[in-house]
Symmetry: C2
Subunit: 200 residues, 2 copies
């Protein structure tokens, strides 16, 4: 190891800090950058710096954006009466890719997790209540993750919005994923799929 | 997609160009960078730029280095009579990690592959011959990959060095990898392991 280039080791160490990259993947990327044209490296490096310098949170929905409000909140064609609540900006990307949702989003920036010290005050829940209150919102779709934390957050939101009886609170369906095999589904998912069954 | 930040999309696109990173991993890394302190992003970005600006090839062994000759070629404690030939700088890292080799290296920068237009002239073979010729080299260990290209390159090197009868050319052992299961070994590896058997 001591015989390798120190700069190479530095880059590998920095890459290893990124999620999902182990030592070997980091090494492969570092050597790839070493072999590729300098313009490519420059573009990557400046994309990293530009991102941190210019991307902020939308003051309305909390999603990542360069403009405030974000393009989504500023788009008058999106249905303002339906708000989809998600944990993270990445979830907005995932939902947009389905092309099935035409309302607005609200990013909580996490989920309730007392173990990690994340209570209601650490999430954008007050902002959600303010948005919903007297703004003609008809439905709040809670699309937090189907995990213990996500489910707890969903229940909390349902209770929070009981103060607004005009607003319907719904939860995305949980069941067996498309393309999967019943045989390999875990029992909790399968139980959910059974209780959530619908008439054909 | 069009509703996400353009800078975020740019970074994700740049990350997707790296080996081993698909759209989802790239997304995860981009969001991670967005959440992590600015100093971390800066360090990563400058590590990328510094690497391209300062790392070059050692004029002797061809390994990546910031100094020429590299620390390995400059180290008088390393046995100069044994040269281990590898395809890529990454292979030097892998061999150094074993702690079993105390000689010098020679990086070919690839392997013979007529299909890809890589002939002997595209590899650092002339440099190898020059290094071996009349420099007191006793053994050349060919540690190219156990692939069709690597094997062809090994044979080529053996024939090339026939002009230097004082130099012994050896090839690293190919057989069943440690910790593996015979049952799952492919037949070529198993055949190699049989023909390469040694007395206990």
């Amino acid at each position: 190891m001591q015989y390798s280039s120190a700069l190479l080791e530095t880059l590998i160490a920095e890459l290893t800090r990124l999620p999902g990259l182990g030592r070997k993947s980091a090494q492969r990327i570092a050597f790839h950058l070493l072999r590729s044209p300098e313009a490519d490296s420059q573009r990557l490096a400046s994309a990293i710096v530009e991102l941190k310098a210019n991307v902020r949170d939308c003051s309305i929905c909390g999603n990542v954006t360069e403009t405030d409000p974000c393009a989504l909140c500023a788009d008058s064609r999106r249905d303002a009466t339906v708000i989809c609540v998600v944990e993270q900006p990445m979830d907005v990307l995932a939902l947009e890719r389905t092309g099935e949702f035409h309302g607005r989003y609200h990013v909580l920036k996490g989920a309730l997790s007392p173990v990690d010290g994340i209570g209601p005050d650490q999430l954008r829940l007050k902002e959600l209540l303010d948005r919903v209150r007297g703004n003609g919102v008809a439905e709040v779709i809670v699309a937090t993750n189907p995990t213990a934390q996500g489910e707890a957050t969903a229940l909390y939101i349902a209770r929070l919005l009981q103060s607004e009886p005009a607003v319907k609170v719904t939860r995305i369906a949980r069941g067996v994923p498309m393309g999967s095999d019943l045989e390999f589904s875990d029992q909790i998912t399968l139980a959910r799929a059974l209780t959530g069954r619908k008439e054909l």
